[in-house]
């Protein structure tokens, strides 16, 4: 990384002519079509596009849950296309954080255990794992709910647990798929405020959404259409970013 000039931030995720093809019977669907793009470190992106434009496919690829049919994808400088299933799993447990629309907590585990799951699968989990998880629970406002199980929590609280879980392995990239889609507008705002904070701390975030209000909170907006980039808007509202930067 020393070769990178100090002015530009090195990208966390880099896509080069990435194509993802689904075969439906005899015809092929290009969910992503020769997409080239890079997401810089510390950036907060909203990904928009109509249904079927390839947003989820992009997110799955970025999240190393899927591999491109052709083209290359590098995360943190690691080329994903050469990795096997185990190595992809390792990448996920070490460099990625996921926040899903439907929270996806594990029902039989309590809040603390849910937050710890990504570390559970690391080859050498950090010694202070539990402390870290407690700190994160505190941070998302659930310090007094550690023993509760997901069904005992509201949707907003569950999503907070999911965010804490996405942070516990100190990921290079946080991927959120319609993270506020299931929440009422008031709770959604609270969650978005949490994302703003994370951004202000320098986390790299990529949020898929089809709500303009939500996209408006992000720093940059990427709009997809038929698996290609339609428009890119950078620094759509410099004020919050600047405010966040100055508040540090």
């Amino acid at each position: 990384m020393s070769s990178v000039s100090p002015g530009t931030r090195p990208p966390v995720a880099e896509l080069e002519r990435v194509t993802r093809t689904y075969r439906m019977g005899t015809n092929e669907v290009h969910a992503l079509d020769e997409l080239s793009f890079s997401f810089g470190r510390g950036e907060y992106w909203a990904v928009m596009g109509s249904s079927g434009s390839g947003k989820s496919t992009l997110l799955n690829l970025l999240g190393c849950l899927d591999r491109p049919s052709s083209g290359s994808y590098r995360i943190d400088g690691v080329d994903v296309s050469t990795l096997d299933d185990d190595q992809l799993s390792e990448l996920r447990s070490q460099r990625l954080g996921f926040v899903f629309q439907s929270y996806n907590l594990i029902a039989q585990l309590n809040v603390l255990e849910n937050i710890l799951v990504p570390l559970f699968y690391q080859d050498e989990p950090p010694l202070e794992a539990e402390e870290r998880a407690r700190g994160l629970a505190e941070r998302v406002g659930l310090g007094n709910r550690l023993e509760h199980r997901p069904p005992e929590l509201s949707g907003g609280q569950q999503q907070r647990v999911a965010i804490a879980r996405a942070l516990v392995n100190q990921p290079a990239l946080i991927l959120a798929d319609e993270a506020t889609g299931n929440l009422d507008s008031h709770t959604a705002l609270e969650i978005l405020a949490l994302f703003d904070e994370l951004h202000a701390e320098g986390k790299t975030i990529l949020m898929v959404t089809h709500e303009p209000d939500v996209a408006a909170r992000a720093q940059h907006v990427l709009r997809l259409k038929d698996g290609r980039v339609e428009t890119v808007v950078r620094d759509q509202n410099p004020a919050p970013a600047a405010a966040a930067a100055s508040s540090r």
Binding site: D85, D86, L105, I106
Partner: protein, 423 residues
Amino acid sequence: MKGPSLLRTVRLGVSSLLLHKLRSLLTMLGVLFGVFAVIAMLAIGEGGRVEAIERIRGLGTQNVLARSVKPREDFATGQQAVRVINYGLTEEDLARIEQTFPCVQRVVPVREIYEEVRCGERAMNPRVVATLPNYLDVTGRKIAEGRFLADEDERRVANVCVLDYDVARHLFPFASPLGKEVKIGGDYYTVVGTVLTRLRQKDDPAPAGQGTAEVFIPLETGRKWYGSMQVKLRAGSREMEEVELHELIVEVAELDNVMFVADAVREMLERNHPQTDFEVRVPLEMMREVEAQGRLWSFVLGAIAVISLVVGGIGITNVMLATVTERTREIGIRRALGAKRKHIVTQFLVETVTLCIGGGLVGVAAGLLSPWILELVLEKRAIVTPGSSFLAFGISVVIGIFAGMYPAWSAARMDPVEALRHE
């Protein structure tokens, strides 16, 4: 193992199982009954074997038994109302065997007397055996009270008798029979001792229903009072039997010579008895047969029980497949958060093996109690060997692993993206 420790995986597995208590319990029952069946079946086999061997050992493993057997019915004489049949082993046979074989330690003759045994109002029909004092040693019978017949009794042709425990209890329910008198046929005998009852045998000489009860008197006394002629009442006719000796117990000095002596005795008797009025039995041979038969039985019973255990295993596979489908979403989440395929495999395998170990342990506990249950219900002797418990438990764990393998693998093979989309 790298990654999650086995302990934590087991804890996770147990908590998943506790999520569906009834289902887990029912699944465990399959294994429980299987393990119980294996142990109980092997215990029955072992009990039967040990019992048979004890019975045979009661005949003396170093002995060869020659018995008088009534020859086939002769139709020509069948018309007469009173007839005399003369057959069986003789004093001559006894002397010949004693003189011919140097490796024969001793030969004990036995005469049986068909008389009722009474004491006051109480009566019964045991096997009355007239024999020599050596009988006790040769057959390995155990004295309960008093003494057995002695050389002195033989010389004095004394009217003394030894009862076995069954007879003693029947005739003298409330007191020790020692020194008391019993009436055998028409004569009175003083009881000098009691011996433990012989274990019942399949081909017992005593008629069915009369049990194995026995009374012993000196050989000479028997010869003097009852002669060798015996009257047997049959349907409408009287039958006289003349038998000198009913049995010869030939004790061989070396165990290795038993089979040889048996063959030689058989050959010698055949030469001197034109009609086949005897049979030669070898307890050692019977014991070997029982051993072989016992092994076969244990194998058959064990195999049936193992099949029931396999059925239990199939039940587990079935339940685990349903569980995997039900938990597709969870699998997707875990995979997305960094679980490798082996972690998913381990998670589900741990669950099935935990079920099997749980069911197996309870099954072993129940199996250890099985002799008690079986003896209560079937009145059969059953013996649990430690080997059978380990075997049953080991098989249940192995079956657990096999039963869990396919469901666990199908869970690990899922595409994480598909799994996450699953409702």
